[in-house]
Symmetry: C2
Subunit: 358 residues, 2 copies
């Protein structure tokens, strides 16, 4: 590709710069690393030589001797999803602020083996710390058996475990969402959960169950989706075919979208006939039809805490074992009180439970 400053085959090395500047390679090293004891004149000569030769320091060699890479590895997974991708953004921001580069390797492959392979990849590349975004049971298990040699933090609301973790309190989020519906007077509240092997999905579901139990209510219908709008739509078709529920807590915003589409097609009005709560608060959900009540997660904070834990680990102090970030309910227009008399509207008439509970 054209105008190479260095027509020779091999890129310039420190020694070349040194020769050009008339100093030793060690002095070049000092200049590059801003160490003291280099005269101003020499520094300038070296810097000029660097520019002239288009020198770039060889990080492999540097890492070899320093044993540090100043980069954090991230095992990225399901990055097409809103949550994971924004977690990564949060981590990148926080790491950058701390002077660390972030090297993220993702794979579409869903298997645990691929994840472990990626972890090994990072470890053999001398990352100084490692974040695993892989809220799946199997992964956590595998990590416990690992001997990483560097701090490693798993993102996710994984309960007590031998693995360091940072996660949004998904269960509480699910609880908040469900509680909100209960407070509005709903009594039959369905849940569409994410894939059952996602820890997040399970935690949100537990929150739903918990809120219902706390209120002395029976769990409503439970369906499983795959986070996609399509799966939410299909769940909605099934759900609305059966006997009515008046409210649904969907595991994320996209499934809520599909669900609401299914509702529209069947002539159910939202929120008059059906209240819907999502999870994530992705930037679009305020513009859904209607704007979606949902649960917001603070990914920036998540990234900060996560990177903080890793830096603590690098510094040697034993970090907190597990951190939970709070989530918060964002009320919009997809939820409304259950009108006292409106129980006749849909086929929810079966639920004559006005006075019975509580």
């Amino acid at each position: 590709m054209g105008e190479s400053v260095n027509p020779g085959l091999r890129p310039p090395v420190m020694e070349d710069v040194a020769a050009r500047a008339g100093v030793s390679h060690q002095t070049v090293s000092r200049v590059i690393n801003s160490l003291p004891n280099v005269s101003e004149k020499t520094r300038q000569r070296v810097e000029a030589a660097i520019v002239e030769l288009g020198y770039r320091r060889n990080t492999a060699a540097r890492q070899l001797v320093t044993r540090r890479s100043e980069t954090l590895g991230v095992v990225a997974h399901s990055m097409e999803q809103y949550g994971p991708s924004h977690i990564l953004l949060g981590i990148q921001e926080a790491a950058h602020a701390a002077g660390y580069a972030v090297n993220s390797v993702g794979q579409a492959d869903t298997g645990g083996a691929a994840i472990i392979e990626t972890i090994e990849y990072h470890l053999s590349h001398q990352v100084d710390g490692l974040v695993v975004i892989a809220p799946r049971e199997a992964i956590v298990r595998a990590i416990e058996r690992l001997n990483p040699g560097v701090p490693i933090v798993v993102i996710g609301d994984i309960g007590s475990s031998g693995v360091h973790s940072v996660g949004v309190d998904q269960q509480r989020g699910g609880w908040l969402a469900t509680r909100h519906l209960i407070d509005l007077g709903h009594r039959t509240i369905a849940h569409i959960m994410g894939p059952t092997d996602w820890l997040d999905a399970k935690a949100r579901r537990r929150g739903w169950e918990g809120a219902l139990a706390d209120a002395g209510l029976e769990p409503g219908p439970l369906l499983v989706g795959d986070w996609s709008a399509e799966s939410g739509y299909e769940a909605g078709r099934k759900l609305f075919a059966g006997k009515g529920c008046t409210a649904v807590f969907a595991g994320n915003d996209q499934m809520s979208l599909g669900l609401m589409r299914a509702a529209h097609e069947l002539g159910l009005r939202i929120p008059e006939d059906l209240s819907v709560v999502g999870f994530d608060d992705n930037p679009d959900s305020g513009y859904f039809f209607p704007p979606l009540t949902t649960v917001r997660q603070d990914f920036a904070e998540l990234g900060r805490r996560c990177v903080g834990m890793i830096l603590d680990g690098i510094a040697g102090s034993d970090p907190l074992f597990s951190v939970r970030i709070q989530s918060q309910l964002v009320q919009r227009a997809s939820t409304a009180p259950l009108p006292p008399a409106a129980v006749t509207g849909t086929s929810a008439a079966i639920e004559g439970a006005e006075g019975s509970s509580r």
Copy 2:
């Protein structure tokens, strides 16, 4: 972090494995690299030693001598957007299939300087090839002045330039979207473009202008958004306040979403009163209200072509300079023919609003 297999401070190296297996480090190297001339018995002893010690080969040292990293660098940017993030997924898939790891470094920072810094980061980390997802003018300019030493491909529909590139033919996509509206009989077609410093946004806009010009029509109103649903909403409020247009081509699906929300709030029915076309075909848009007509981009193909170009470059053959991937129109329910008589202004309020489109 408890049960380290190697309580010493320094991780095991090849020599340690060799000692344990009773061979020389060179034999260990042969085993690891699956080279011939190692007896089965020796191989097994070595492999056992590797597992026992938890040995991982030091990639820095390996790179130092092989001068190859078998990884591709990706400069990721604006990864919160649908397009960029899915391009990355496509690249990862293709690279993985070719046996390359992908190391993506993203930053929130929008400045060109940060991008160049990231490129330098990758180059000094000995990536074997480099992809830059940064469809911004300034970046392309800066890359032209670079002396990378490895193949570098920019993602984007950047016209002729000294830089290798792969991109979806955005302009043609914009043309298709607009043409579709023209074919439906629309005559005043607005466009909400993305940020003006995005090459993609400009290309889509050119497509819109081109299609109108080809049909002998005047350009309709032009507004600028930032890809977000919110910006689409605001654009919609402005647009619908003025004299009516009957169709809008929005620069992406999210802006379409916001736009449709604005339309709903003003009592405009879609597609009866207003046709909308988006761009991206993100998985949600089939579940919008109504399902969105949009333009699909093949990100997997994009990734394949991109990685293919880089591999060609690594192999030494001069790659194609610039590749354009075709996009395609996906028709759904947000567009409809302009009723011959319906040009009677924007407020067709009368009509039972039961449009269960589809």
